[in-house]
Every structure is written in C-alpha cells, then in structure tokens.
C-alpha cells in the first residue's frame, strides 16, 4: 500500500454535495490518507461559503506521484456527487473517460449512462441508522473503486481524525461502503491504467 | 504627608528638562506626584512598574518619570498594556489616559479592557477637553459648554466615566479630583495593588483650553469649583434626590477583587499542563 505501486500524474477528484453531508471532512480524511499513509503528493482545496449548512459544498483533491504545482483540479478524473445540484453543476468538469460516482438516493437525473451509483444516504439511514455516516460510506466505496486508496490506510486515518467513541460506527460504515461497491461494480477498479 | 517633594525628585528623569511642559496649575503634575508616592508607598521597584500613556497632554507624562515607560498611539494605551500584562504578569502596569484618549478614540478599548478585567490600573485624567490639540470638545465636555469645535455651545451629552466603568464590570472604580491629592494617593495605591481592571478618574482642570472659554477667571477658580461641587460618595448617597443635582461624588464606587484575565489565563495553562 505505498505510492510506489502506482504512478499518478495529477489524478483529480472532486467530492461534491450539500453542506452538512460531511463533504469537507471526507476530503480531509481522504487527502490525509493519501498524503500521510500512502505518501502521494496531495493538494486538497475546498470552496468556502458563508453558508454552513445547505447550499453547495465541494472538496477537490489533486493526487500525484510528483510535486504538485497548480493545486486546483483542471479536468476531473473522478466526480463524486451526493446531490442533484452538484451533479448538474460539476459534470461538465469531468473528463470524457472520467468516473462519475453518485448517490442514487439523492441524484435521480443522471447526465450519462456511464456511472457508478450507490444509495449512500439510504444505506446510512437504513443499515447504520446514522445519516451522518454517508460520507464515510462514500469513502469506503472509493477505497474499492480507486486501487491506489487502501481501506486500511483510510481506517487508520479515521482513527486519527475522529474521537474514539464514534470510531466503531465509522469503521463499520467504511466496510459497508467498500463491500457494497465491490458487490455492485466488481469491474471498475480494472478500468484505470496508471503508469 | 510632608517631605514628599524630595522623594518625587528621586523618581524623575534627571536627563529631562524641568519644569515640565504642563501649563501653570495643570493637575497633571499633581497626578504624576501621586503616582510616584503610591508606587513608593507600595514598595515597588522602578523596574517592575510600567507606565503606559496615550496621546495628548497626559501622554507626555510618561517621559518624565524613571519607570519603564511607553508613549503609545492615540487611544490605544490599554491595548499595549494588555499585551504587556499578559506577557509578564509580574509587572505593575499603570495606564495614563486623557478623556479623549480613554473615552473617545479609545472608548472601545476601555470598555473591553474593563470587561476582560485585565490587571492594569487605568488612570483617566479628565479635563473635559482636548488640551494639546487646542481645545476641541471631547466625549466628557459638559453639555452647553464651549470649545473650539463647539463655539455655540456643546449639544451632546457627556460620558460619566465612573458609570461607564461600572457598567463594564471593572473591579475597582473610583473618582477624585486634582485638588484631593490625599484621596488620589489612597485610590491609586489601592488600584495598583488590586487585581483586575482598576479605574481612577481624576478631574483635573485645563484652564488654558477649557477654563478660559467657560467663564473661569483663573485656574485657582477651577480648583475652588471642585472643592465646592464635589462630595464624598458616602455622603452623596445619603442626599435626597433633589439635592444631588450638580454634585459630583468622589471616592470608591466599586471594590471587587476578582482575579484579572492574566491570572485566569495562567490558571488555564496550569490546568492544561496538569492534564498532560
């Protein structure tokens, strides 16, 4: 699980959705796992708005095997959209062969047939009984979909970032997201070619 | 309390020219004497006293006395003092401000220093006017009185320093006049020693810029006015409402010993360190 196995040249991910869905935390945890556990160069930027809840929220990651100059994404390799609005707004920034990951519970009108759809919010509500776990469920799914992001590294980061009393629930969410993605989209990880 | 002049001379900076710049009869000199007597009475060394002044006539005081002295910007003396006290709580910080300094341009700092209860002594030398800039009205210029910027009489109301300080929660709040030097010594001694934020308002005459424009013949008449119109706060409280008008109470209005902000911050540090 080290950065040496994969050569990434500006791999760009946008995590987007509504304020309150934990998008910024998701970006921070994912960035930290990739930077500190895997040893990639990572820049994580986000849009700051005056609104703390509701409204659009996004967090961008640029991941690379060499130092990153320009810290913002230019062409997205992955767009994660946890709301219809975010999907509509950012789909045009996704590369033609990029991967769209949506929360099918929140996004009903898809701009393409080529996407990964998992009902993260629904799973969080029904299986975990905590809607706040949506973001970590998403992280779990991404750990499966992106071969360079290891689930154990993500779990380690979760333990560093979250207070002890909510760790178990979050690990559970991480595993659930991972297995759900694996079950629904077994072939996606093979899509990537890193060299 | 005689034989104090020689003592005062010991605290003055011998490299500075005397007599000082203040106009004849200006109470600022009396206040400087009182600060020195109070520091001496408390047995403090010159090194542990920091005298911080603002801008204006009162601001000039700092240069004359052999303490650690800082002549700051207009109205901001209390902010410097907050930094000094927090950085080194062992220092005794005395802040000298005029009325324009403390309550007009520095009003925000005054109320927040009081609210924060930072451990400094705030001396407000209230002469009801901007002296150094030439007699413009300040936030303590009485209604209807004249200044160079209120040539037709002042329409605004003036601040009551004591009530303002009380409202902001200062530990110790007091008032005296330049004519009541013994009371001033007592109040200042107490204020320097007391924890938290301590206010001493000194009514001090400015004949040059205020008295002349407001029907006083000379500075002595202004002192006589203080003698006639001030009353000990204890007696003031016994007066029936109708007899209080025009009387200025002097003395101690609040005397609390709540710990200063710097002390509480020290306790916080202790707590955090013991947890580790």
């Amino acid at each position: 699980m080290s950065a040496k196995e994969f050569y990434l040249n500006r791999f760009e991910i946008r995590l987007s959705g509504l304020g309150g869905q934990g998008i910024l935390t998701l970006g921070k945890i994912m960035g930290q796992a990739l930077a500190l556990e895997h040893g990639f160069y990572v820049t994580q930027t986000q849009s700051y708005g005056p609104e703390a809840r509701g409204g659009a929220s996004r967090s961008d990651l640029v991941i690379s095997s060499s130092p990153i100059s320009y810290p913002k994404p230019e062409n997205l390799d992955v767009l994660v959209a946890l709301s219809q609005e975010a999907c509509n707004l950012y789909f045009r920034n996704l590369k033609a062969d990029g991967l769209l990951v949506v929360d099918t519970f929140m996004v009903e009108q898809l701009p393409t047939n080529n996407y990964v759809g998992i009902p993260f919010t629904q799973l969080a509500k029904e299986k975990l009984k905590v809607v706040q776990a949506t973001n970590v469920l998403t992280l779990g799914a991404l750990c499966y979909l992106l071969p360079f992001l290891n689930k154990n590294a993500a779990a380690k980061t979760l333990k560093e970032v979250f207070p002890a009393k909510i760790i178990d629930k979050n690990i559970k969410a991480l595993n659930l997201g991972y297995s759900k993605a694996k079950q629904l989209y077994p072939d996606i990880p093979k899509k990537w070619s890193f060299s | 309390m005689v034989e104090t002049t020689k003592l005062i001379h010991e605290y003055l900076r011998h490299s500075k020219k005397f007599p000082h710049v203040y106009c004849p009869g200006c109470g600022h000199g009396i206040v400087l004497g009182s600060i020195i007597r109070s520091v001496h009475h408390l047995g403090l060394s010159k090194d542990e006293v920091v005298l911080i002044a603002g801008i204006g006539c009162s601001g000039r005081m700092a240069v004359y006395v052999d303490f650690n002295t800082i002549h700051t910007t207009h109205g901001r003396a209390l902010t410097f003092a907050t930094g000094v006290k927090l950085a080194n709580p062992k220092l005794k910080v005395i802040v000298v401000m005029g009325d324009g300094d403390a309550l007009s341009i520095g009003g925000n700092h005054f109320i927040h220093a009081a609210r924060r209860n930072i451990g400094v002594t705030a001396l407000v030398l209230n002469n009801n006017i901007y002296g150094m800039t030439g007699g413009q009205s300040s936030s303590t210029t009485p209604e209807n009185s004249y200044s160079t910027t209120t040539p037709y009489g002042h329409l605004e109301r003036d601040f009551d320093v004591v009530n303002l300080a009380l409202g902001c929660g200062a530990n110790f709040v007091s008032r005296t006049t330049a004519l009541h030097a013994q009371l001033m010594d007592k109040l200042l001694t107490k204020a320097i020693e007391n924890p938290g934020f301590n206010v001493v308002e000194v009514l001090t005459p400015c004949f040059t810029q205020y008295g002349r424009k407001n029907k006083f013949k000379n500075v002595v008449e202004m002192y006589s006015w203080y003698r006639k119109n001030t009353i000990k706060v204890e007696k003031y409280k016994e007066l029936p409402e109708e007899k209080r008008a025009g009387k200025i109470p002097i003395g101690v209005f609040s005397d609390k010993q709540e710990p200063g902000f710097e002390e509480k911050y020290g306790q916080l540090r202790e707590k955090l360190r013991s947890k580790k």
Binding site: G27, K28, G31, Q32, A35, L36, Y41, V42, T43, Q44, T45, Q46, Y48, P50, I68, S69, Y70, P71, K72, E74 | S15, K16, K46, D47, E48, V50, A62, V63, D66, F67, N68, T69, I70, H71, T72, T73, R76, L78, T79, F80, A81, T82, G83, V84, K85, L86, A87, N88, K90, L91, N108, H109, H112, F261, Y265, L268, R269, L272, R273, K276
Partner: protein, 381 residues
C-alpha cells in the same frame, strides 16, 4: 548510531502551517480578531498557545487592539504575532508605523482579499501588496514576505520571525486564500534543523544602556520590560535615548538608521526561487498561489520546446531587484501574473526600466489565474 526520530508529518492547511511555523520559531504570544480567510490561524493559536508554559492567546476587540497588544508583548520580551485579512490589515496600519518607529519586532500575517472595502472575503486575491509596503503613514522601510504552498507557509513564518528579531522590525507575511486554505502534507523540521534568531539583548550595565544607539548593524539591542533597563518607548521621532526630539540632526540620524538597517542587509533579506531560468527567454515573475499556476505553465511550455522560466518572489519588499534585473537583461519578455490590477508589476517595470518587454496578467474576480492563461501569454508574441 541512534536513529533520529522521524519528522512529524501533518496534512494541514496553509493557515495551520503558519501556526506550526510560528511555534517552531518561538512565538509565544498571539493577539487577533477573527476575519476570513485568516481565522484558522487564530483558532490554531487559541488551541495551542495555552498548552505552552508561557503561551498567551488573546482575542482582542478589534485589529487595532490586536496589534497594540502584540507590540506590548514584544516589548515585554515575547515573540509575538497577529493574523488578519484586508480590512483588519487596514486597521493595523497606524500600529505598523509605530512598530517601525519604535523598532518592535513582530509578525503580521495577512491572508489577502480583494477590495476595496469588505471586498470578497471567501475568494482569493492579492490586493494588499502595496498596502503592505506603503499602508502606514510616513517614510519607513518594511519587510514583506509571501508563500505559495503549505510547507512554505511554515518556513516563511519562521523566516518572518527571524527577520523581525534580527532587524527589530515588523515583518508582514502575505498569503492568499488558496495558499491559506489548501491542505497538503507538511513535514515539521526537527528543532536542530532550524536556524532560529532571537533579538539581541543589552549586556552592558543598565546605566550605560542607550536604547537607540547607533551600532554597526544599525540594530540596537532590546531589553524586555522589567529587566532593569528602563527606557522610554515612543512613536515620536526620538533621540538615541528614546526621548522625543524635533531637532533636524537627531531626526535625520534616526530615519537614516531605520532605512540603513534594512537596506544594508538587502542580500540577506531578498528570497526568491528560480525555476528553469538559466536559458529562459520568457520569464514569469509570480508570488503566492499564482506562482504554482506559473510553475505548471512553464513545465507545459518547456514540454513544447519553449524556453520559459519562473522567478518566484518569496520576499516582496524590499523588492528583489537584483534577480529581476538580471532576468530582464537576459530574456525577451517578462510576464507578471497577479490577482490585482498590477501591484508587483509596478515594481518589475521600475526595475526593468526598458530592458525587456513586461506583460501583465491581472485578475480581480476572485479566481486564481490558471496555468492556461499564463501559458497563452508565454506563447503569444
């Protein structure tokens, strides 16, 4: 041989890196007032300083008070700082002048906004470059630094403290929202890897101490308040004893010393990074987050065979004129992209003085200048 402990790594915001840098530099006092996009610096200090033996964080009533408290703390012997953004920086200007005049070491971090006025609080801009240079009234020298990535935020904060202490002067570190709010991995240097400079304190008996004495370096020693060296501090022009003066010869000596102490160490202060400038025919001069855009642009230009280079300014003032002049002589075109209407390009043009063609890229819409925009100017004749 004992293995050295692993350096601590953090995934941190630029603002958080400033906090780490300040603590490594020995900062133990912070006074500030919340303002976007600098607030994480205050929040970080609020959490960390009380954990130190002597650390103090205080949230003041406004930015004027914040810098006043910082000056007071510095006079009392602390390494002290504040952080703010455009509007707050404007409020601090009077006290910046005071700190220049009274020679009080301190650090101000300004995470810039666009303006005028409240402007654009949550988007990046580089609107305060000339304000940092000339914001306070009266002639004065000043040191202004910048940083373009998160690790550099840490190192430039340390540099800011070192310059402040070495030259007894306020130092301003200008950041932008992108740099302040980007998270990246930073590596905390081990203390023994760092050079930390502390102010010189007087060593003569107090009676012989002359607070503003002319010295070789032009920087007089500075005792903490209460240490036995009683002297007078003032913002008025003063003689070497610190007493106010209006005598022409004394004022002249003071003012010239203030300038000299910065000027004569110009080569120590001017920090830049040169990227592929050796054979460059087109040079981009940039600072802050825009320097990162420029870096990608010149990489792309080189890939297509265009001899492009980059000069990243880490010191903005005193303006690193020797580097700019050298490159202006060498290349055909100098491109200055910045997120204002031309604040550093004025300096570049002044130094360039007709040597080369100076082209500017200016954005004032709260958006970072992209590598594509710079690339276009590199190619364009």
């Amino acid at each position: 041989m004992a293995r050295k402990p692993k350096r601590k790594e953090l995934f941190a915001l630029g603002n958080e890196a400033v906090v780490e840098g300040a603590l490594l530099a020995g900062c133990s006092f912070f006074a500030g007032y919340p303002i976007t996009p600098s607030t994480e610096i205050a929040e970080g200090m609020a959490a960390k300083l009380p954990q130190l033996e002597e650390g103090v964080f205080v949230q003041m009533e406004d930015e004027i008070a914040s810098l006043g408290a910082v000056i007071g703390a510095s006079l009392a012997g602390r390494k002290a700082m504040t952080a703010t953004s455009g509007p707050g920086f404007s409020l601090m200007q009077e006290h910046i002048g005071y700190a220049c005049m009274a020679e009080v070491p301190l650090v101000i971090v300004n995470v810039m906004r666009g303006g005028p006025s409240t402007g654009l609080p949550t988007n990046p801009a580089q609107g305060d470059v000339q304000q940092a240079r000339w914001g306070t009234h009266g002639d004065h020298p000043i040191i202004v630094l910048s940083a373009s990535d998160v690790q550099e935020c840490l190192h430039m904060t340390i540099a800011a403290f070192n310059f402040a202490e070495k030259y007894r002067t306020p130092v301003i570190l200008l950041l932008d929202e992108v740099t302040a709010h980007t998270r990246e991995k930073i590596v905390l240097p081990r203390p023994e890897e760092l050079t930390i400079i502390n102010r010189t304190i007087p060593t003569m008996p107090p009676e012989w101490y002359v607070p503003y004495e002319e010295t070789m370096r032009g920087v007089p020693p500075m005792p903490p308040l209460g240490s036995g060296y009683r002297y007078h501090v003032t913002g008025l022009t003063h003689d070497e004893h610190g007493y106010p003066t209006s005598k022409a010869n004394e004022i002249s000596a003071l003012m010239h010393r203030l300038f000299r102490k910065i000027d004569q160490f110009f080569y120590d202060i001017q920090l830049v990074e040169e990227v592929e400038t050796e054979d460059a025919e087109v040079v981009v001069v940039a600072y802050g987050c825009v320097a990162r855009s420029a870096k990608l642009a010149i990489t792309q230009a080189r890939e297509s065979g265009c001899k492009a280079g980059l000069l990243v300014l880490k010191t903005l003032f005193p303006f690193p004129r020797t580097y700019v002049e050298k490159l202006a002589r060498q290349c055909k075109k100098v491109i200055v992209p910045e997120m204002n209407m031309g604040q550093i390009s004025r300096e570049v043009k002044r130094v360039n003085n007709g040597l080369s063609r100076v082209v500017t890229i200016n954005r004032v819409d709260g958006q970072i200048i992209t590598p594509g925009e710079i690339l276009k100017k590199i190619y364009k004749d």
